[in-house]
Amino acid sequence: MTARTIITVPADARPDAGSALRLVRLHLESRRVTAALVTVVACALTLRIALRWSWDTYGALQLPLILESGCAAAIGITTGSPFGEPERATGKWLPLLRLGSAITMTATAVIAFAVATLGADLAGGIADVVRNVVGLVGIALLCAALLGGGLAWTGPVVYMIVGAYGLYTDWHPPAITSPWIWPARPPLDLGAALCAATVFAAGIAAVTWRGARESA
Amino acid sequence: MNIEIADVTRQFGRTRAVAGVSLRTGAGVFGLLGPNGAGKTTLLRMLATVITPTSGSMRLLDRDPGAYAARREIRRRLGYLPQSLGYYPGFTVAEFVEYFALLKDMPPRQVPGAVATAIERVELAGKARAKLRTLSGGMLRRVGIAQAIVNEPELLLLDEPTAGLDPEQRVAFRLLLRELGARATVVVSTHLVEDIGVACGEVALMDAGKLVFHGTPQELTAKGEGHAIGDAPLERGYSAVLAAARS
C-alpha cells in the first residue's frame, strides 16, 4: 500500500440507502437470522397444527407458551456474533443493528403467531401471545448479554417450565399470582404486561449496548 | 519407508485438491511447502487418515490404511496437528492432552507420564492446570503440539505448527522437530521457509495439487540462483520453482 492509495473518510460521511441495506443484510446473515426465522415459522405452524386437537384447562395455555419459548430462544441465539472483537472495534452502526434486529425479530414472531392462529381457537388470544413473546425475548436477550449467544436459550426454556407450572396452579390451587410469572396471569392483566415489558426493555438495552457476551 | 503414496488424487466435487502425488519417505523431517490452495492440507489430511484418496494407493507405516484394523494401528502411531485446532475451553492443558492420549489407546498406566512429558517438551509445564480458555494463541498452538506428540508417534503430521509462536519458541520447536525426526517421520506443512531450511532434511513443493519439487533444502536453494524474487536463498528457490511450474 502506498501513500496515493490512502483514502481519507470525511467526518460526516453517511452510507447511502444501498450500502445501508447491504450492511443490514450482511449483519442479519452473520447472525443466521434465516435459520431463526425458519424456527419461528415452524413454531407458529406447529401451534396451528396442534390447535386441531382440542385442548382444555391449563393445557390450552401451556401449548402456545412452549412454542413461544422456542421462538424466543431462537431470537436470543441470533444475538451471538461470530466475529468477536474486530466487530466491536468498529463505528456507530453496530448498536443500531443489534437494536433493529432484536425488535424486528420479536415483531416477526408475534405476527407469525397471529397469522398462524387466525380462525383457530387460541386460548388467551393474541394479547397473551404478545405479552409472552415480548417477555420471553427479553429473558433471552438478558441471557445473551450474561452468558453469550450460544446459551441465550437457557433463560426462556427455564422460564417456560416456570410459566407452565404457574398455569397449572390456576386449576390446582394455590395459584401463583405474581405478575413476574406473567403467563399465569389473565391476558389483559396490566401488572403482568408491565413486568414482561420491563424485562423486554432491559434485554433490549443490554443487547443494544453490550451485545451478546463473547464465549471463549 | 513410513510413507509410500503413489499417484494419489483427491477430488472435492469439481475441485481437484490433490492431483496425482507420489511420495516415499522414511524417518526424518519432511517439509511441505506451497502457496495457499496448493493442496498441502488435503494431502496431510489423507496422510492422517481423516479422508480417503479418490484414487491412487497409500501405505503408511507399512500398512494399508484402507483396512480398518490396519488403520487403527496407524492411528495408534500417528500424531496430527491440524491447521486450525479446536479445543474445549473448560479443559485444562493436562486434561486436553490426557484426553487425546486415552483416545489414542495408550496404555492407561503410561498416560500420566506421557502427558507430563509432552507438556514439558512444549514448555507448558507451569500451565498444566490452567484452563485452555486462559491461554494465548501461541500457547494453544503448543498444547496442540503436545497432544500430537503425547504417544511418541512414528508418523507426525504438523500443519502450520509454528503459527502464533514467538521467535524463541520457534527455535525451541525446530529443536524438538529434529529430535522427533531422529526416530519418526515428521511432515511439516508451513509457509515459513526458514523453518524448512533449518529443520528439514527433505522438502517438497506443491502447486495446484501437484508435486513440483522434491529434494533437499540445498537443492531448492540452488534452484533459486539468479532468481530475483525472494529475500532469502530458500525463498528465491521457492519462487523460481513455482515460476517454472506455472510457465
Binding site: 437457557t154 426462556p156 407450572y165 397449572y168 | 486450525s84
Partner: protein
C-alpha cells in the same frame, strides 16, 4: 503343556489384558468427562425446577406413598427434560462447535466410544440429581406417612427416563451441531413429554409421565389395599430404554471414520430400540382397568401381584370399633366424628354390626373417560365366619387436603362419610333405607327424603327419623302421614326413642308395626 496350548493361553492372556486396558482407559475418559460436563452447571437449575414443580405438587398431597409417588412421576421428567436434554445436546455438539471433528477422527478409538463417554457423564450427573431430588421427597414422605413403604416403580420409571432424555439430546446435538439445535431439541422434548402426558389414544399411556389410568390419576385407594401393579411401569421402562438405545445407535451411524463393523451394530441398535418403543406402545394399548384402579397389561401381568396387602388396622371406638387401613390414620378422627352420631342412634340394638372396617374402593368404568369408584362411604353388609356382622366402610375418593379442582373441606368429608353410612346402617337395622339417598353436587349436602323406598310406612318413618337424628342434612318435612310420623319419632328424647327401638325393632324389621303404633 504343549507349545500350542501355551500359545493359546498366552493369546487369551494378551486379549484379556487388552480388554482390561480398554476398560481402564474408558473409565478414565469417563472421569475426565464427568469433571467437565455441562450437566454440572445445570444441577442447580434442575434442583430449582424440581422444587418449584414436582416437589411442591407432590408435597401438597396428603402424606400417602401412592399419592406422592404417582404425582412425582407425572412431573419429574417434565422438570428434568429441559436441563438434561439441553446439556446433552450442548455436549453432543461440542466437537462440531469446537472444530475438533477432524482431529477426533484421527484417533484409533472410534469416535462413537468417545461420545458414549461424554453421554455417560451427562447421564451420571443427571441421575445423581434425580436420586437426590427423589430421595428428599421420599425421605420427607417416610417421616410423614403413617404406614407403608416407598412406591419404587414410579421412581424407577423416572430414573429410566433420564438416560433416554440425555441420549436424545446428545444424538441431536451430534448430528446437527448448530447453535439452534440445543433450544429446538430442548423445547421439542418438553413439548413431546407434555403432550404425551395427556393420552389421547391407549398407546400414549406408555409415556413415562403417565402414572396410572389417565382418568383416575393419583388416587388414595390405588396401591393401598392391593399391591401396586408394575405392568404399566414395565411397559414404560421398555419404551424409554428403547428410545435410549435407538438414539445411541443413531449416534453410531454418524461415525463414518471408524470401520465398517460399526454400521451394522449401530443400525441394529437403532432398529432394536425402535422396535422396543413400538412393542411398549402396543402393550400399553392392551391395558385394561382392574377393580383396584390399576392398569393390567395381560402380557406383562403377574397374577401373584393381585393379592391384597396385609396390614394391622388402626381403630377408634365409637359404640363399635371403626377400623381403617393405617395409611388413612390421619383421617380416623374425622371418621369417628362422622360415624359416632349414626352409631349412637343404633347402639345396643339387635342386629347392630360388631365392627366397621375399611374396605378397598372398587373402580369401574371406561378407561379413558369417567370412572367411578364404588360409592364413597357405602357400607356393604357382610357376614363374617363367626356369625357376627361386620360392615365394610369405603372412604370417599377425595380426601381433605388433596389439591384438586374441587378442594374438599373436613366438614364436607365428614358429610360424605356420614350420609351413605347412615343410610345403609339404617337399612340393616330397620330393614329399609331412608328413602332415596342423593348426594348433592356439593359434597356433603345430600338429602334423605321420606319418599318411597320400599318397606312398610312405619319402617320408612323410623328410617327417616333415624337419619335426621344421625345428622344427615336437610330431611324434607312432607305433609304425609309417614313424614309426620317421622317428625314425631325424631322429636322424641333419644333415650325414649332408643328404648322403644330396643323393644320393637325386630317386629319393625318384620313389618308388623304400623304407623299408629309408633310413639
Amino acid at each position: 503343556m504343549t507349545a500350542g496350548a501355551g500359545q493359546v493361553v498366552g493369546q487369551a492372556d494378551g486379549e484379556w489384558r487388552a480388554w482390561r486396558q480398554r476398560l481402564v482407559a474408558g473409565v478414565r475418559l469417563l472421569r475426565l468427562e464427568l469433571r467437565r460436563s455441562a450437566m454440572v452447571w445445570m444441577l442447580p437449575v434442575t434442583g430449582a425446577l424440581f422444587w418449584y414443580n414436582a416437589f411442591r405438587e407432590s408435597m401438597a398431597e396428603p402424606a400417602m406413598w401412592n399419592l406422592r409417588a404417582m404425582t412425582m412421576q407425572h412431573g419429574v421428567l417434565l422438570d428434568f427434560a429441559p436441563p438434561v436434554v439441553g446439556a446433552a445436546a450442548w455436549m453432543g455438539s461440542r466437537d462440531g462447535r469446537r472444530q475438533l471433528t477432524d482431529l477426533i477422527g484421527t484417533v484409533p478409538r472410534p469416535r462413537w466410544t468417545a461420545q458414549l463417554a461424554t453421554w455417560a457423564a451427562v447421564t451420571c450427573w443427571a441421575l445423581v440429581a434425580y436420586c437426590c431430588c427423589v430421595g428428599v421427597l421420599y425421605g420427607l414422605t417416610a417421616r410423614q406417612a403413617s404406614w407403608g413403604g416407598p412406591l419404587w416403580w414410579p421412581a424407577v420409571v423416572g430414573a429410566a427416563g433420564i438416560p433416554a432424555l440425555a441420549a436424545v439430546g446428545f444424538a441431536a446435538g451430534a448430528w446437527f451441531p448448530s447453535r439452534f439445535t440445543v433450544p429446538i431439541v430442548t423445547v421439542g422434548a418438553f413439548f413431546a413429554l407434555g403432550f404425551s402426558s395427556q393420552p389421547r389414544a391407549p398407546q400414549w399411556r406408555v409415556s413415562p409421565t403417565v402414572s396410572g389410568a389417565p382418568s383416575i390419576g393419583p388416587d388414595a385407594g390405588i396401591g393401598t389395599f392391593y399391591h401396586y401393579l408394575p405392568d404399566l411401569s414395565i411397559a414404560q421402562v421398555i419404551c424409554v430404554v428403547g428410545v435410549a438405545v435407538a438414539a445411541l445407535g443413531a449416534l453410531g451411524l454418524l461415525d463414518r471414520a471408524s470401520g465398517s463393523w460399526l454400521r451394522p451394530i449401530a443400525s441394529s441398535m437403532t432398529a432394536v430400540g425402535l422396535a422396543a418403543v413400538v412393542l411398549a406402545a402396543g402393550l400399553a394399548g392392551t391395558a385394561r382397568l382392574d377393580p383396584h384402579g390399576m392398569l393390567v397389561i395381560p402380557a406383562l401381568h403377574d397374577a401373584a401381584n393381585d393379592r391384597p396387602i396385609g396390614y394391622t388396622p388402626i381403630c377408634a371406638h365409637a359404640v363399635i370399633p371403626i377400623c381403617l387401613n393405617p395409611a388413612y390414620a390421619a383421617y380416623l378422627p374425622e371418621c369417628k366424628r362422622a360415624l359416632a352420631p349414626v352409631l349412637a342412634e343404633v347402639a345396643g340394638l339387635p342386629g347392630l354390626p360388631v365392627r366397621m372396617s375399611q374396605g378397598a374402593p372398587v373402580y369401574f368404568g371406561p378407561l379413558n373417560s369417567g370412572f367411578a369408584p364404588s360409592g364413597a362411604g357405602v357400607v356393604i353388609a357382610d357376614g363374617s365366619s363367626d356369625g357376627s356382622r361386620q360392615t365394610t366402610l369405603v372412604l370417599p375418593d377425595q380426601l381433605p387436603g388433596e389439591p384438586s379442582g374441587a378442594d374438599i373441606t373436613v366438614n364436607q368429608f365428614i358429610g360424605q362419610i356420614r350420609l351413605p353410612v347412615a343410610a345403609d346402617l339404617i337399612k340393616i337395622m330397620v330393614g329399609v333405607a331412608p328413602g332415596a339417598v342423593r348426594v348433592g353436587a356439593v359434597p356433603g349436602a345430600g338429602r334423605i327424603s321420606a319418599a318411597s323406598g320400599g318397606g312398610s310406612p312405619a319402617q320408612r318413618a323410623v328410617a327417616a327419623a333415624l337419619a335426621i337424628d344421625a345428622g344427615a342434612t336437610g330431611a324434607p318435612r312432607a305433609n304425609t302421614a309417614v313424614g309426620l310420623a317421622a317428625d314425631r319419632f325424631a322429636a322424641l328424647p333419644a333415650a325414649v326413642r332408643h328404648a322403644w327401638l330396643a323393644t320393637h325393632l325386630t317386629a319393625l324389621r318384620a313389618g308388623r308395626i304400623t304407623l299408629a303404633q309408633l310413639p
